[in-house]
Every structure is written in C-alpha cells, then in structure tokens.
Symmetry: C2
Subunit: 235 residues, 2 copies
Amino acid sequence: MTGNAEEDTMAPGAAEGLTARGGVMTRNAEGGTMAIRILLAEDQTMFRGAMAALLSLEPGFEVVGDVARGDQVVGACEALRPDVALLDIEMPGIDGLEAARRLRTAVPETKVVIVTTFGRPGYLHAALAAGARGFLIKDTPIEQLSAAIRKVADGGQAIDPALAVAALSEGASPLTPREKDVLAAARGHGTIADIARGLHLSSGTVRNHLSAAIQKLGARTRAEAVETAEGKGWL
Amino acid sequence: MTGNAEEDTMAPGAAEGLTARGGVMTRNAEGGTMAIRILLAEDQTMFRGAMAALLSLEPGFEVVGDVARGDQVVGACEALRPDVALLDIEMPGIDGLEAARRLRTAVPETKVVIVTTFGRPGYLHAALAAGARGFLIKDTPIEQLSAAIRKVADGGQAIDPALAVAALSEGASPLTPREKDVLAAARGHGTIADIARGLHLSSGTVRNHLSAAIQKLGARTRAEAVETAEGKGWL
DNA sequence: GACGACCCGTGACGACCGTCATGGGTGAAG
DNA sequence: CTTCACCCATGACGGTCGTCACGGGTCGTC
C-alpha cells in the first residue's frame, strides 16, 4: 500500500488510488513554455516511485500524479488533465491497452505512451489501434523515454523502431476470435472439460478449436500453442 | 541436480558489461562517515538507470557501477569492491541467486540484497541459503529500499516481513531432486518422450516422477503442477 | 441465391497421459 | 543387517488429447 492518502481537494470521488503531486514547476507561463504534465500508471511501486522522482527532476517535466491500477487511469486523467499518460500494459484491474482505449474517448487531449516489459509485436498493433502515440519497452534507456515524451507532447509519435519492423514482419494474428478465446481460457485451467464448462461449450468443440489453433501456430501441444501465442501478443 | 554445468569461465575479462560511475561522493572521509558503495545488477535498462540515478541522489549513497547480466556480477564486484550489491533474480546469464552464491566466496565483504519482482517463498529460502542479507520485492516503496541498504551496510538484515511469514508457513519443497528436475524439464518441452530424451531417462520413469510431483502438489495436470511449483519458487 | 468464413456440434480413431502395482539397485540411518 | 528413502524401469489400465470427417447453423459478400 502506497498510503499516500493526501487527496485533500481532489475533486469528485473520481480518483481513489491517485497520488497527486505538487509539481515543482506549476502551470505558470514561465518564460513562455509550460511544463509537460505527466501521469504515471505502473503497478510496481518501486519502479513507479523511481520514475516519478526522476522525471520530476527533468527540466520541463511535471509528474502530476501516479496510479497503480489500470482502472484508475481514466479517473485520474479526468481530474488532472495531463498532457501525457505513461501506461504500463501489465496492471491489475484493466490492462494499459484497455485503459488507452477508454482514455481516447474520455480524455482525448491526453496523449498515451505505452511502456511495457514485453516487446510483443501484437502489443504494438493493439497499442496503435488503441490510439497510443508512443510505444517503448522497459529495456531502453531513460533518455529515450524523455525524448519520446517530448516528441509525443509536441504532437509527434515515438515508436520503438526495432519493434516496428518485428510487428510488420509478423503480421496479424491468424486465429479466429473464438480460437483466441479458447486458447486464452486454456492458460490457467487444466482439462478440456474445464475449459468447455467455463465457456459454455461442448468439449468436442473446444477440442476442435484447440486443434485448429495448434496447427495454425505450428505447435504440437496446447501448452506450446499458448506459449507462442502469448509471445507474439495474440491472446 | 539439473546439470548446472556452468563452466567457471568467469574471471579473465573480468567486467565487460560493467558501467563504472564516477561517484558524486568519493571515498574520502567526509565528517567521519564514508558513503555506502553500491553495485546494481538488473536487466531492465530503464529500471536500472532510474534506480542508479535515484540512489546516487540519496545522501550517503554512491552507486559505483551497474551491470545487466548475472554473470557480470562477480567480475564487477572484484573490480569495484562495493559495500552492497543489489541483485535482481531474473537476469540473463545466471540468475541473482546463483550470483549471490558465487559472490559469497569470491567477494565476501560485499553484502547482498536481493530485489525481485516475484515474492515467491522459495526465493526467500534460496536467497538466505545463498548468504543474502536483504530481500525485497519490487512492489515496495523506494524509501524502504534505502532503509534496507543502510541496515545491511551496517551489518544488519532486511527481510520483507510479509514474505517471511509466507515462507515459514509454506515450508520447504516436498519434491525430491529428481522430481524437481523432471518438472523443470516439463516446462518448455512438449511430450513426455521429449523430456525423457533430454534427461536420458525412460519415458516410463518420467511419467512416474511426474505423477508423484503432481500428487505432491495437489495438481491434476502436469501443467498445473509446473505452475504451482513455479509460484512457490520450487523449481 | 450461391458462396465462403466462421461457429457449434457429433462420432470415431490412434496416440499420449496419469495412475497403480511391482521389482531391482543404491546409499544413509538405526 | 534391517529399514527406509530415493532412483530407474516395466507393464497394464482407463481416461484424456489431438486429428479427422462430417453435418447443421448464422452472417456478410459477390
């Protein structure tokens, strides 16, 4: 628990898990340029804290808030109206991609930059489809993150170039929607009967979908198919 | 034991991937207390950079170097002789636990603090057995990390309390060494015949070991057994 | 309306998986 | 020396899995 419960005049009930930050550089026109207002969404407390502290030191940046869950992103952005939202993908609640989708209609002024651990081509596709303007993996230097934030705040784009070519060479998912569902349900559960029960399907149908998915992915086992599908971001 | 036939080809080139850092506060006796010299081992570049920058700002800390791979830890510590080594567990090369084991004999002055993403009880056991003096998960505030570093540098210990009780309640792994091997080999590979081939065993023996492991872990499938064993850090 | 893509289902077949019983071999503990 | 735990192996059994062939259903497109 972050426990920084200092939501004094935080407007509505909107943002519960939000940690508002008194910016070093407030929104006065200081020399003509205003600081880029940033919201941070990241579940690992340590990483979130480190990034917030570091970005706040960067001249021209102001971290106006940070949240730990995907379902707190929209509320926080509605309250704070940041210029840029830095979203992790793997988060409790809803993931960063879904948060980006909702943010586009709820707070369209806020530009989204996705920062994720896994450089899966499918993630890039989904992020761009969700309206993200930037996409970086966490295995890149912070200087490039700063540069990406500035570019996006200026109205530009910032896509990891190595991932872009990978995403293009991969192409889209060959799985039909239902095959994707069945394969996704096959991650945690054990037997086929369990999956069938969870999806209200016949166990024979589940086997057929799984068989099709296995062949399309070039796998030999259901587990292998799940693994390769996850690796490419088709889930 | 799974053929941990890691060749000991560590020493010669010593520290290739090492980024040495000119410390803000050098090792002069300033007022009587010397800065705590820290080495950082973490594969995610962004996280590593952020932590290095942030810890350098903390008064009394000096980040003297950082590496991205586990097999660079010993070489870097031999060259830099830090007071504290902050080790991630999940790293390419060798993992942080193995690095801690080797560090204890190679550079015993350096105290080890494990900082990991996953709060698996088995990890804590292994870390303490490897001689680590501190154990934190990345989902804790940075202030606690600073406190832990100071405590460990002073000769004390810093163990995440929530994990300590979990580790005690869990107990040690019920799996025999061979069962662990077979289960570990069952992660990536597909069929039982593949596992048997990889371990030079009869396929019937593999099935027996797997069956025993499945029952000991209360699972119903090999995949379930792998999952729960991984979750507890028995691998 | 014909066509194709996708969905759901059935039935059957061979291969694989998980369980059990059984046995021999080793090495440490009593 | 006996006992016990672990290792490896074999064979047999029932259940599950992956594949195939097949049929019926919906929906959008040409």
